[in-house]
Symmetry: C2
Subunit: 464 residues, 2 copies
């Protein structure tokens, strides 16, 4: 007899934690740190707070000399904090969070922090402790575990106290890790976070007592992103159906204007002519077939304004150059910021930096990838940025050998980054994103080409 | 004020359907077909039924000449059928299914069929119809949609009738697709399914009225796989805790024997000596720290027998050669079946086939990848098999040029395939799997090398 079963989201990712980047003790250590650091940074710069993020990873005393051993991880930030009643759910439930909107942020899946907690628990059987204060007056502290089968937190104890002015979040957990194998990746992650977040102060104390400090390098912080309505090109029948369901009354003309991004009266009228629907008709009277056909027409109409990139928060020339110079100390650096573009109704901005020579000691091209200010360190070969570098760029044309001390930095920001995996390892191919990356990379290569040209003629002059 | 939200599993994959392989109308057409065909094949050969799977894809009449248009897909099989009360849940709920056990099967996530239904509905607003019979006497038919926000089915109507001897499942749905773009991939998928399932009869009628028939090529069907207990090397604290929770009483010695794969009295005694625990102690008295330390010791003990590969169902030499000869018609074919191995406590078997010349007209090496009898057609460059071919094989050594009319077929079967993505596109690196693939590929290359050697000396003799 066939046995059927339903499993909870946390049970699913417990069994398939490879999908989320928690495949083994060295990779899990990396993923835990990156998920929690990204949560802390979101809690700061989405609210225009200069981030201060401190991370301490310590091997427990008196352990056998194995590579895989128990670590304590403590991370604290000065961010927005988590409201008291939401603290257990924030990290104690998969698919729970505050970043499910159409707004640029590092987080988007509602599960990264929860996976860190889950992995810690299944490897050490120890609860995690979360302390948070939203107002600097009172802190709330929870010691808890996650009920994996039910996808909900179990609070073991709770305490609160005087926060004495501290606002933010502090997380302490124990997990089995393999620091020897992941140390270089973890340090690389912090170096890259510092490059793209030069307005943050970050410190990492590692198990070998090495202290990595990234001082604040600029007072310039990007303007926080804003939330937008869905764009007509990003709407399917389900999206239309839900918008109609919450429509309180009024003609389809005002329905379109109020529910979709950048649809004004003029465009709404043109579209309604195109689909031959009376502008005063209540959308709640649309039949099932009419809804499907209307959704299709949104795609074929062709005259909607493209998504507005002003809801996004790119790094900008200043911040990117500061980060590049601070972390890489090159002889030459250049940046290309593309105008906003869109894929499938989602606005995005591509920013590319180039750093050459100076303290860059590599003998071949290095690619640093970023998306929504997150460094992507794995699966380079599968990423759209690598594909552009290898397939769409004619290196001979720029007289730049690929074996140069050259770093290309790509950053894509969007209301929705098309990651291929839940572990946010790399970005899927989208022709619109590919085109923007290609043009931005060509721009900075032209800049380098000019510089190298001038430099070699200067050297020729000096030789004479 | 920060707004928090919980979203259901279907809502999560509705918003992030790229993760599941439903990124655009051409890819979604492919994914819908592959998910439903794999469900039908599982429903047959897991129960020793010779599969008969018929698929018909038809473009709807009277549509504009766009590339993206509405299709009707009908798929029917002669498999086990779905029990009446489970039919709506089977495809109407994400994370619901019968394949969550530790047993080899194509499906494993409880969501592929549901994603097909979801995508169909959000692109056409039309319900799907599922008809199934488990006994050949009565069929049950449901017309339903999925409530995406609640992750549950909504049944629109139900009917039943005399099945007149037919047992199996039939699914009909409507979806927006782009067949022009995905036709070659879809046909390639059917060709490869036929290669690895030569005991099945499969027919595909496509929108251009081309009928692809894959007749049954052999009466040999692999023995169905069996379910196994978790292996000690695959157990974490959560797994131990759950096993203890359902333990009704008795010493830890019998607990180990009854709960873990291939742990007999001898090994149990040795292990309990190693961790210095009395064999008669009730595991329910273990403290939290003892559970964590016991789990760690399962990893470090080092004397457990490796997982038993007999629970697996490899294709075998006969079936693989039949499929290769039937679909590729090569001049030379060879197969290497490796002994069972294991990664992280999960048993697996690697089988590699090689086909050379004859009707193979390619001017370079082709790699056909399979996992648990599923063809993997995307992201070849990220897959472990490709990595082995490109990095671990010394092609000069075998005197086989890479520009030969050569096809390498890799098949991995396991109780758990370590896919990197929910869309089952490619397999993550595991050193144990890499090693088995390398050795199997070397074996078939040696075979080809010998054949080419003999062939060229025969030709030299004939020339004289
Ligand atoms: N350090 C923090 N400060 C403030 N809020 C936090 C912090 N960490 C987590 N949160 C809250 O908890 C929620 C859940 O975090 P989690 O990492 O599980 O998901 P996410 O960040 O929303 O998405 P993703 O899975 O992509 O990381 C967040 O949306 C945020 O509201
Ligand atoms: N054609 C079919 N015949 C019999 N049972 C089926 C059929 N299709 C689906 N089912 C049942 O419905 C369940 C859910 O199918 P679904 O494709 O959503 O998930 P799955 O096959 O278990 O896993 P995966 O997501 O990896 O495909 C299956 O586990 C199976 O029990
Ligand atoms: Mg997060
Ligand atoms: Mg399935």
């Amino acid at each position: 007899k066939t046995e059927f079963q339903e499993i909870s989201p946390s049970e699913f990712f417990y069994r398939n934690r490879d999908l989320a980047g928690f495949s083994n003790p060295s990779r899990a250590l990396y993923s835990t740190i990156r998920e929690l650091v990204e949560n802390s940074l979101d809690a700061c710069d989405l609210f225009s707070i200069y981030p201060k993020v401190y991370v301490r990873l310590t091997g427990l005393e008196n352990q056998s000399k194995e590579d895989v051993k128990e670590y304590t991880l403590v991370i604290s930030d000065n961010g927005s904090g988590i409201p008291n009643e939401k603290i257990p759910l924030a990290l104690g439930k998969v698919f729970f969070g505050s970043k499910f909107k159409l707004k640029q942020s590092r987080g988007m899946f509602g599960m990264g922090g929860t996976m860190s907690m889950l992995y810690a628990q299944i490897t050490t059987n120890k609860p995690i402790t979360i302390t948070s204060s939203v107002d600097g007056k009172t802190y709330h502290r929870y010691r808890m575990i996650i009920d994996i089968e039910k996808n909900q937190p179990t609070v073991l104890d709770y305490s609160s106290g005087d926060s004495k002015g501290w606002r933010g979040t502090r997380i302490e957990l124990n997990l089995m890790g393999d620091y020897l194998r992941s140390a270089s990746r973890i340090v690389e992650y912090f170096n890259k976070i510092a490059l793209v977040t030069p307005y943050a102060e970050i410190a990492f104390l590692d198990p070998m007592d090495r202290l990595f400090v990234y001082a604040k390098g600029t007072d310039q912080m990007p303007t926080p992103p804003t939330e937008v309505l869905p764009h007509p090109l990003g709407v399917d029948v389900e999206g239309l159906r839900r918008a109609i369901r919450s429509w309180k009354g009024g003609g389809i003309r005002s329905f379109l204007i109020k529910n979709f991004h950048r649809v004004g009266p003029g465009i709404a009228d043109k579209f309604l002519e195109y689909v031959m629907i009376d502008p005063t008709r209540d959308p709640r009277t649309l039949s099932s077939e009419e809804m499907a056909s209307l959704t299709n027409s949104l795609q074929t109409f062709g005259k909607f304004l493209p998504p507005d990139g002003r809801c996004l928060s790119p790094l900008g020339r200043e911040i990117l150059l500061t980060g590049i110079n601070k972390e890489l100390n090159p002889e030459f650096a250049d940046v290309a910021i593309r105008a906003p573009a869109a894929y499938g109704g989602f606005p995005f901005v591509v920013e590319v930096g180039l750093a050459y020579g100076g303290q860059i000691k590599s003998d071949k091209l290095l690619l640093f990838r970023f998306a929504n200010r997150i460094p992507l360190l794995y699966d380079e070969g599968s990423d759209i940025a690598w594909k552009v570098l290898m397939e769409d760029i004619d290196w001979n044309h720029y007289k730049v050998p690929m074996e140069s001390p050259l770093v290309i930095i790509t950053h894509i920001c969007s209301t929705k980054i098309p990651y291929k995996t839940v572990g946010k390892e790399y970005i899927s191919d989208r022709p619109e994103i590919e085109r923007e990356l290609k043009n931005a990379i060509k721009e900075v290569l032209r800049g380098l080409s000019l510089y190298l040209g001038k430099k070699s003629s200067m050297e020729n002059i000096q030789r004479k």
